[in-house]
Symmetry: none
Subunit: 252 residues, 2 copies
DNA sequence: TTATTTCGTGCAGATTCGTGCAATATCTGG
DNA sequence: CCAGATATTGCACGAATCTGCACGAAATAA
């Protein structure tokens, strides 16, 4: 990443968020704090920002209320996304199912994340637009309108040729007895195929999905490797999945 | 590769990506970094770009280059989009190239439009989300980041199997002698393939593209059936295309 | 107060830059 | 066709820039 580009990013971030934190930024850009601090110093010397202990503030007061952003980042789905993003290591090949939960993973990827993303959801693909170090492979096919993912024979054919390390599966129900379920038969079939094409499968489950059942079964709980639930998820709802072989991760 | 052609490519890349890295570019073009740096120096001397350590940035501080392109010349593009949408009849199979012009076609589709859309651009696919009567087929492949379209062998393979009535081709240059050109070789190949898979091809050309030439040729003007230009496009720029067999449509 | 975090400076290694020079290709005029 | 002029390209080498680490000082938190 070019130095000038980094400085511009800092100013952008400052205008958008109303603040920047040196430590956080250094982690996000995979650079030392020294470099970030140096940038802040130089930008401050140009009068483009105001240095404060720990980071920087805009020269002119921002309109963005900071409290709003904080509450946003503490949102349950956001925490799930963060936990999901943490599972991705550089060099991996990761398959993303459609859905808002998986979209949240993309949002929490560190800027320097470097891996291969495979998806049959154009929405996910578009979200990955500004991740320069992520290779994106789209699985083509007929777009299933309701959930905006490619399905059908074309998609199945493309999936048959891939082999991934990790698959983030999207479901509408996670139930101890009925397993993982979704609302469409064709989608369920594609999801099954994606599972078998990946070494591991993870599911991000908001609390409303725990114990829920939808019409079409994808597979049993034991067939996935990781289930990520909200940090505040009721203990008794999770207890039902103990013994199924899945490792349960509490987010946030 | 000619020097002037290389310089054009650098400017294209700069406009598209918002940055250029000397080392990366030298590797991509199989030239020494010295040559690239020399180009950058000369272009900077002409005021066409801003040199920075490691590469170059655009002269105008475009925070998000692609977002800028989206807001650029909105009215003219809107009229072009309307004219393009008018070419689509119910029951047709239409291929959409990536790019903001083609996105504008989607925006101007009548709500009840009923046809099959094929695209290798996830952005286009997402835009078609709320058109319930349009069947959408996505062409998969490796996402070419700069223009957000699927490319590579996977895409080529999928394209080989389709047959469409109409193809909306996106270009960066329309020139009487040099023909239709774009900024990337791989993209040019995919575009050629999409042309031959379609009975007709139409190009939406904003005035800034008329007479412009980019490094990689897609084909001659005569190979497309319709060229849609702005209503206020200068007559002399269009006159150059007369006799090439293309029918010229003035929008707005 | 004490402990922790953040800041500033100096320094070393790596990368990039600019200039001069030589080799090759292209152009021009005879 | 040839000879010289011009342009283009790659390489060498010293200068400038960038980055990360170390260490002590300053600021913040407990």
């Amino acid at each position: 990443m070019l130095t000038s580009q980094r400085k511009r990013l800092i100013l952008d971030r400052l205008a958008r968020d109303g603040q920047v934190v040196a430590k956080q930024l250094s982690h996000e850009l995979a650079l030392s704090e020294d470099t970030i601090r140096r940038d802040l110093r130089e930008l401050a010397a140009e009068g483009l920002l105001l240095r404060v202990h720990g980071g920087a503030m805009p020269v002119s007061p921002t309109a963005v209320p900071i409290a709003e952003r904080r509450s946003l980042s503490r949102d349950a789905k956001s925490a799930l996304g963060k936990a999901g993003a943490a599972m991705i290591r550089d060099g991996m090949t990761v398959v993303f199912d459609g859905g808002t939960s998986n979209l949240e993973i993309i949002r929490h990827l560190p800027a320097q994340a470097r891996f291969t993303a495979i998806t049959h959801s154009p929405t996910i693909a578009v979200a990955l637009e500004d991740r320069p170090d992520v290779d994106v492979v789209i699985i083509g096919g007929k777009l299933f309108r309701h959930s905006m993912v490619a399905t059908g024979a074309l998609a199945a054919e493309a999936i048959a040729r891939i082999r991934a390390d990790l698959f983030f599966l999207g479901v509408t129900g996670v139930h101890a007895g009925e397993g993982l379920t979704t609302g469409d038969m064709e989608e369920a079939a594609i999801k099954r195929q994606l599972m078998s094409a990946s070494a591991e499968t993870a599911v991000l489950a908001t609390s409303d999905k725990l114990g829920a059942v939808s019409p079409f079964r994808i597979g049993g709980i034991g067939e996935i490797s990781t289930l990520i639930v909200e940090g505040e998820a009721a203990e008794e709802r999770i207890a039902a999945f103990a013994g199924s072989g899945v490792s349960i991760l509490r987010a946030g």
